[in-house]
Symmetry: C2
Subunit: 296 residues, 2 copies
DNA sequence: CGTAGGTTTCTTATAGACAAAAATCATTTG
DNA sequence: CAAATGATTTTTGTCTATAAGAAACCTACG
């Protein structure tokens, strides 16, 4: 059976939306709600039905009215609004990093299914998608092997990353001044400066900013294969940041300053400087990653 | 239920192996057979049991003897020895190319399952793996869309291909003369020359040679992400060759000559010449591909 | 007559079952 | 006791079933 995470997320969203409405106002139409929440009318109706039994919405048909007074309905826990497929990645990476980080470790679908409390189908599907990250490999009719978060993995990853990033950075620097990308880059620059001011408390926020910065650069010359590669980078770094907390504040501060230099070079449209700043940043990012890989 | 393609392929292989043995010789041990056919002993025993009922092998336990006289057992049809997962790709590409090549076409798992005579699980698994080829995209809770074999697809593919190929070619040219790769490259050179001699009849054989040539170059500096990208190239070109038969003989002849020039440059360790030959070949390959893409 | 709600049909996400194949454990024999 | 066969346990590949969710169709009201 499907999980009803779509319904639960939508329920919470509508609850939130409705709570901002004045008491007694009419509910937006089913189509409007569906469009706003990016779900089908079928699910909208299910949500409305649930809200009716909870007394948040009264009336029927075109005459549905919001009642925000009285005890409000309780939203579903956040965990139940995340689709299963998305949760597997999180749990799998945690399992890899905490328990079984050794290269060559066999990955057993049945064991994972039991550990994660789900059917093997879901595990298989995840592993098949995860394969492209280059960390696991399939042995037909036998299981999967974890190839290890090794030095060579990091080196291979960064070889490609450098090629792609330099190419995108050059393309961006060559963009005319009236491209909307410059405004977006300026906004990101401000975010970097703000983060730098509050680095002591907010240093965890860098992971997300980092991903957005590099992805923005890659949009200067869109290429589906490069975009797809950035998914890999994002996931690897996301978990690397979660796992390796050593010197996190300081590492992130250094990276922010490198980003700022990199952005200055971009704003200056100076290809040579851009390449220099880009390379410098990637070298330092590579060193950070390399410090937490296993040998071979 | 699993298909028994492993058993059937193994059965055919053992039948073939046994037919070369003199009548009355003892059968190799189960372990030996398993190692040679890359299958588990369980399947070896199943094959032996089948051969016993067919009278090709007599005796039991350690005393099993081959009987090649009399009517020999019939092998299983080749089609039944190919694992289902491998067959889907073939059928899917054919379906894409023949029937529904239009960008934006919705891909319906259930419909494909019915058309291919298999369960939806198998289709899903295939589509999830095929996603990395950049030709399809998933809409959660809805189906998949075919993004189209478009001009931009070809351009994006070749942008990456050129980056990767130039980098590998440079690495290969820089390899010392005693590297085993040079001998392998010489062997490939001979294959090219032979194919060129019989181009009129054997021009279909180029597809395979092409793939092996470019993959050999990439082994000069192994990188899992590049290898993975070559899988995409190989599949795309495999089906492109099957689909677009126009001028096939001539196109392949041109490509062979380009390869030969490229190889000469590599043997000469002349980076500038290598880059020239490599670029020239890729440009012409790109043109070929572009000629059969749809607009946008 | 176009937009909204009501109803029906179709598709996807996930679980569960089971034979094929692998992996492990046990026994025999030279 | 090492290498082979025999028996048993686990795991994978594939199918079927079903609720959640999307999509399509229908009806009614302003």
């Amino acid at each position: 059976m499907k999980t009803d995470t779509v319904f639960k997320r939508a329920f919470n969203d509508v609850l939130d939306l409705v709570s901002r409405l004045p008491n007694g106002s009419t509910l937006p139409s089913e189509n409007t709600l569906g469009a706003r929440l990016k779900i089908s009318r079928t699910t909208v109706r299910k949500v409305i039905a649930a809200l009716e039994t909870q007394g948040v919405v009264t009336g029927a048909g075109r005459e549905r009215v919001v009642r925000t007074v009285g005890e409000t309905a309780r939203p579903f826990p956040h965990a139940e609004t995340i689709p299963m497929a998305a949760q597997v990645e999180e749990r799998f990476m945690e399992w890899l990093l905490r328990d079984n980080a050794r290269p060559g470790t066999a990955i057993n679908e049945l064991e994972l299914a039991r550990k994660f409390g789900m059917a093997t189908t879901g595990i298989r599907e995840f592993l098949n998608r995860f394969q492209r990250f280059g960390l696991i490999e399939k042995r037909p009719n036998s299981g999967w092997v974890f190839k290890g978060f090794t030095t060579s993995f990091a080196l291979e990853l960064f070889e490609i990353r450098e090629m792609f990033e330099l190419r995108s950075a050059r393309a961006l620097a060559a963009l005319p001044g009236d491209s909307p990308l410059w405004a977006q880059l300026e906004a990101l620059q401000r975010e970097h400066l703000q983060l730098l001011e509050n680095i002591e408390t907010r240093f965890h926020d860098f992971s997300d900013l980092d991903s957005r910065f590099h992805r923005l650069i890659s949009t200067a010359a869109p290429n589906r294969f490069i975009d797809s590669f950035y998914d890999i980078i994002t996931v690897i770094f996301h978990f690397h940041y979660q796992w390796n907390k050593q010197d996190e504040r300081q590492r992130n501060e250094v990276a922010i300053r490198e980003h700022l230099t990199y952005m200055d070079a971009l704003f200056g449209h100076n290809i040579a400087l851009v390449e220099l700043a880009c390379r410098a940043h990637l070298v330092s990012a590579k060193q950070t990653l390399l410090r937490s890989t296993s040998q071979k």
